[in-house]
Amino acid sequence: MPQAYYNREAGIERLATETGAGQWGSALAFATSHFEMDCTVYMVRASYEQKPYRKMMMQVWGADCHSSPSTLTASGRAMLEKDPDTTGSLGIAISEAVEDAATHANTNYALGSVLNHVCLHQSVIGLEAREQLASVDDYPDVVIACVGGGSNFAGTAFPFAGDKLTGKHPDVDIIGVEPAACPTLTKGLYAYDYGDEAGLTPMLMMYTLGHDFVPPAIHAGGLRYHGDSPIVSKLVKDGVARAVSLYQNEVFEAAQTFARTEGIIPAPEAAHAIRTAIDVALECRKTGEAKTILFNNSGHGHFDLASYEAYYAGNLPDYDYPEELIRDALSRLPKVA
């Protein structure tokens, strides 16, 4: 909403954006329709195929949704030429949306995560959660959210990270949960890198797996991003927040537990946070500690039922990241000054 609003105020008539699992694309489609703007969404191919109804949802709100990489942009065409069977990635979709905005009149690019203003907009989640807890005289000992580009995590955690940094609540444990298939914060390099595959964005200081890394097609499509929000990266680097990584099957196991106990079928992205919340709670049971655990159940899984089907059929590979071999492979690359 705020991104669409401020663009409209600036006289922009059309927005181009990327989306992974499709939540952000749906949200921006609704916002642009609200402000009578046009919207073009580049949706990561793996998710576009896994969740066809997300595309319908964007259509309902008047947006054009294209499978990325597409043949509409030079960066998309280059990627398809390199690998016609590519799964796509958020990095590739960002390249396409940036290029679209740069080559069309009165069009701006809207990013769904990573950048500071996006994280700022999302922080309404954490602010409200903190208020709600305050109304029952509580404050979390542990704050948990899943991390892809970082906006969901930032939105949940930044208000609490602020409390930790200012010394109001120095002991709050802030955990970002990412997929083992795309372990940016746990196994990435802290360095300057591009935010997109083609290298069209400015460089960002962040944890990264390399802008050309195409993560395996896990079902948590919203978490398939090679980099991370610079502020989230800095918080993890400085030890204000910490990160853990999980495999697909353990995530879906927790999703099922949650669905059966709470009646809510969570999205695979959200289930990362749920799994970690369960793990922390079980640890508390072991140690006998009482802790207030706040986690963000950031999305429902109604568009992800095909992934539940794959889980029940035993067809979900536990994608992994061979970090030692990748390090060895990268060490042989020529060093660029």
């Binding site: 793996a46 059929a313 035993g314 994608y319 992994d320 990241y321 492979a329």
Partner: protein, 371 residues
């Protein structure tokens, strides 16, 4: 349009005979099995697999009598061409001769019904010239050429479009030793086998490298790029490890262990003593292995030269396991069987398998028990 129009069928009528009477295989023991009251199973298994293929306009060439002709007739496919007449009783030599006749006829696919012993005889003749698919009927079926069940045979054979082929290991168990409770296997050959398009089923929409050759090339490129100077790399048997050698431009042995140092081949088809000599005292090394056979063995099937002593010298943490996504989708669990249970446990409950350039999967090791 199915990829396979002309199919050569050979049935080993004695396959599986030893199983029910506890003979652990039937090689050279068919008479004894029959005397013990064993019933031939292979002809019925073959007919079950063949029945759904009737009426699809396929041309069958086969051997006469029990070696194929009868099974086809039972399956409702009466108009097959007999291109070979076996002796009575038939032997392994007849299986091989029938396969030679199929190749002369120009078949698109060799379908055989039997076990590992039959697979070995077929592979000896057919090699990688023509795809091979097994109808499972043997006592031991450690090879990867077998369809999961008779129903899968029709699904694979009748699949539309160009054939999707995968490399499959033919594994030969030493039956004499096996009967003495000494499990010794040799990776005997590698053939090409068609894979069912539906094998990835529910995860079909999750893109993976479906083309085995491309997946293998990507794995080969990644490992070759990740090789460090001064480190000895021991490449195990199979075509996935072979892709690493191919990328490096060295001539590797398909079925044995080779050593690579600084991009050069420093030893081929090595025995345990050679491996120990190369490793010397504390040379840093990596053991590069493929997932072998339908059962998912990483160590213990066709890797006997890598003894516990060799593995201890390298260090179990220095194992690099390779497998294409297609292979892993067909392999629910991995197994290690070094002959030393304590060492087997040192590999932990999971192994990481490299599946492409910079990609991997975590697979559970051992029997099917909850994580």
């Amino acid at each position: 349009m199915p990829a396979f129009r002309t199919i050569g069928l050979v049935v080993n009528p004695f396959a599986g005979l030893g199983g029910r009477v506890g003979l652990k295989g039937t090689d050279g023991l068919a008479d004894r099995a029959l005397a013990l009251g064993a019933e031939p199973l292979a002809p019925a298994r073959a007919a079950m697999a063949l029945a759904p293929l009737a009426g699809h306009g396929l041309r069958f060439v086969t051997a006469s009598g029990k070696m194929g002709e009868e099974a086809l007739a039972r399956a409702g496919i009466p108009d097959s061409a007999c291109v070979y007449g076996p002796g009575v009783p038939s032997t392994a030599a007849d299986t091989r001769a029938a396969c030679r006749a199929f190749l002369d006829d120009g078949v698109d696919l060799v379908l055989f019904c039997g076990g590992d012993g039959t697979a070995r005889d077929v592979a000896d003749v057919v090699g990688t010239d023509v795809p091979v698919l097994g109808i499972p009927a043997g006592v031991k079926m450690y090879s990867s050429v077998f369809a999961l069940d008779p129903g899968t045979v029709a699904r694979v054979v009748l699949a539309d479009g160009p054939a999707r082929l995968a490399d499959a290991e033919v594994i030969d168990v030493d039956e004499e030793a096996y009967r003495a409770n000494d499990f010794r296997t040799v990776l005997h050959a590698i053939v090409r086998t068609p894979s069912a398009p539906g094998l990835v089923q529910a995860s079909k929409r999750v893109f993976e490298e479906a083309d085995e050759d491309r997946a293998r090339a990507a794995i080969g490129a990644f490992i070759a790029d990740a090789m460090r100077p001064g480190v000895l790399y021991l490449l195990g048997p199979g075509t996935t490890t072979g892709a690493v050698a191919e990328r490096l431009g060295v001539n590797a042995t398909l079925l044995g262990f080779d050593a690579v140092l600084d991009g050069r081949l420093v030893g081929a088809d090595l025995a345990e003593t050679d491996l120990l000599a190369l490793l010397g005292d504390g040379r840093e090394a990596r053991l590069v292995l493929s997932v072998i056979g339908a059962q998912g063995f990483v160590l213990g099937r066709g890797t006997q030269v890598v003894t516990p002593a060799v593995i201890r010298r390298i260090g179990p943490e220095h194992l690099i396991v390779l497998g294409t996504p297609g292979k892993l989708a067909r392999t629910p669990r991995l197994h290690v069987d070094t002959g030393d249970p304590a060492l087997d446990r040192a590999f932990g409950p999971y192994l990481r398998v490299v599946t492409g350039y910079g990609t991997a999967q975590r697979k559970r090791v051992g029997a099917d028990t909850p994580a």
